[in-house]
């Protein structure tokens, strides 16, 4: 390595005084040199040496906004030399999305487990009785389970693609995992639009009952009856269910929209829009999965009597009184309460009950 000019490394040790003198001179030179150089430059009226490369690379790196060049090669974005967002997207996916997404999902599962251990299964205080209320028509149940099927399949395949490399690849081996990932990708792409269809069907069917009403705020303020023993009265859907519906509709439409951008790379959308679509798809989807985990929990192991309405179409009267008091009261006032025999007759379970109710099949 060459010593830098002006440093004191090359000073011979004549004497202390001489050394001091030399040091002073060097210091003087050091202080005045830049000035002298600047003077010389202006005097010469010097050659400006702007490096053209600097300008070139500035536009190549897209520092001053996207300025694509020209190329003989046809294709989306082919005239863009450097896409500065690629690295940002990579960092988001690898350093934020995968770890924090994993924490969010794991945290939600842990939370549900903890909640189950602390609160246990929410029982119907009055016990499950004989009397039922008709809750969901056949069509409503069908589209609900249709949405559920497509959502679960899409969530599973999507999670395989997102976390598979870190979780599955090490013990599956590259060949087998690649097979699974390819199957997941193709399945995800094909089933994606089905979720869009399901979302539309669910939206149009349930939107009227999901508009927020007067009692909803008190439900929220009382924490939906999660804390404490008392149940909060609500209409056909309570505040939580309504919020879940709107999350499904709003977040779901973002998911479907961004998914369509990703799955149809035909309309000249460049890398930047694909990256944005991917980011919004991933974030909203993880949010949706977390919400749906809660939905599945409360609908199955979390609450007694909650699943019946979506499987048989009839819910328990006592359950309805405790969880949807206002709806149950109205039904009772209208005389819509059915006893178990009537229900099984309507469902064709008794020998004599050959007639199927018109309400059941009119869906």
């Amino acid at each position: 390595m060459r010593p830098l000019p002006g440093t004191s490394t090359g000073v011979p040790p004549f004497s202390l005084a001489g050394g001091m003198m030399l040091l002073l001179i060097t210091l003087l030179v050091l202080v005045t040199m830049p000035q002298a150089m600047a003077q010389a430059e202006t005097e010469q009226n010097g050659i400006q040496v702007p490096n053209p490369s600097a300008e070139l690379w500035r536009s190549v790196r897209q520092r001053e906004g996207a300025l694509p060049g020209r190329t003989q090669v046809q294709g989306v974005d082919s005239a863009m030399l450097i896409n500065p967002y690629g690295e940002r997207w990579r960092n988001f996916r690898m350093k934020e999305l995968i770890p924090y997404g994993g924490y969010a999902l794991g945290g939600m599962l842990l939370l549900l487990l903890l909640f189950y251990l602390v609160r246990g299964k929410i029982r119907v205080n009055a016990g499950l009785g004989d009397r039922k209320l008709f809750r969901y028509t056949l069509y409503e149940r069908t589209i609900h389970w249709f949405t559920a099927c497509t959502f679960l399949f899409l969530a599973l395949t999507g999670l395989i693609l997102l976390f598979g490399r870190s979780l599955l690849l090490p013990w599956m081996g590259p060949e087998l995992f690649s097979l699974l990932a390819s199957a997941s990708k193709e399945g995800h792409n094909l089933f994606g639009p089905l979720f869009g269809v399901a979302l539309l069907l669910v939206f149009f069917r349930f939107v009227r009952r999901n508009i927020y009403q007067k009692g909803d705020l008190t439900w929220l303020l009382k924490g939906g009856g999660i804390i404490g023993k008392g149940h909060v009265p609500s209409h056909f859907f309570n505040m939580g269910e309504k919020s879940m519906f709107w999350i499904l509709v709003l977040v779901g439409s973002v998911i479907v929209g961004s998914g369509l951008i990703l799955v149809f790379p035909l309309f000249g959308q460049g890398r930047i829009s694909m990256e944005l679509a991917h980011v919004s798809h991933a974030v909203t989807t993880l949010l949706m999965i977390v919400v749906i985990l809660g939905h599945i929990y409360i609908g199955s192991v979390g609450m007694e009597g909650a699943l019946d309405g979506m499987t048989t179409g009839y819910c328990d009267l006592n359950w309805a009184r405790e969880h949807h008091a206002e709806w149950a009261e109205r039904c009772e006032a209208d005389g819509d309460v059915l006893d178990a025999d009537e229900v099984s007759q309507r469902r064709g379970e008794t020998v004599s009950g050959a007639a199927v109710s018109t309400r059941e099949s009119s869906a």
């Binding site: 053209p52 060049g69 003989q72 030399l81 690629g86 590259p174 995992f177 690649s178 094909l190």
Partner: protein
């Protein structure tokens, strides 16, 4: 070991697209796949420069990081290669790559892209060297023959350089020094130095001094 690099000298590239043609011919890539392309910045304006770009075989390659099936890897020579038997054609490498190097044979509806294809630095793929499979999937393997990528080898102005990063850097540094010297010597700006104005010459000149 050497780290293989491409370097394109923008002061020399004349946008002849010979590298693109050479690459297509040598590797027999399908239609629609362009492992290499030449991009012209400020086309037709002062300061026009062209650059030939392909996979730059990054040291910390984004494509390797984001691939969901981990099919992209770098060799001991610093060449970034990928395994087409593992690739699922998701397109993530294309999003992450700053240079737009990963190419897909199709851009169909419902995400049908086909397997990713990109510049291999003429180093084939994970298959056995010079096997039929390797030829079919990845094109030629010149590196195994001790040759450099054809695009750089047949660049007429030697703008595109390929090889060991240290050697490339030395060549380029020498060029930069020479250019700087010519600027000082002839007293023109760097911008004009490249154009060789007819300074001190008699006769007709299109350039007014």
């Amino acid at each position: 070991m050497a780290r293989m690099k491409f370097y394109c000298d923008a002061e020399r590239c004349i946008e002849c697209n010979a590298c693109v043609t050479a690459c297509k011919n040598e590797n027999e890539v399908p239609w629609g796949v362009n492992r290499r392309r030449v991009v012209t910045i400020k086309d037709g304006e002062p300061g026009e420069r062209s650059l030939s770009v392909a996979c730059m075989h990054c040291s910390d390659a984004p494509c390797i990081a984001v691939c969901p099936v981990d099919c992209i890897y770098d060799t001991i020579d610093g060449v970034v290669l990928h395994d087409k038997d593992i690739c699922i054609g998701c397109g993530y490498c294309f999003y992450a790559c700053p240079f737009g190097a990963p190419q897909f044979p199709q851009e169909g509806a419902f995400g049908s892209r086909g397997k990713m294809d990109k510049c291999t630095f003429c180093a084939g793929g994970p298959e056995e060297d010079h096997s039929v499979e390797e030829r079919r999937k990845y094109g030629s393997n010149r590196l195994a023959e001790g040759k450099l990528p054809l695009c750089a080898e047949m660049c007429s102005t030697k703008a595109l350089l390929a090889g060991d990063a240290n050697v490339i850097a030395d060549i380029y540094r020498e060029r930069v020094i020479n250019r700087g010297a010519s600027v000082l010597n002839r007293g023109v700006s760097y911008q004009n130095a490249a154009f060789r104005a007819s300074r001190g010459m008699e006769g007709k000149s299109s350039v007014k001094e």
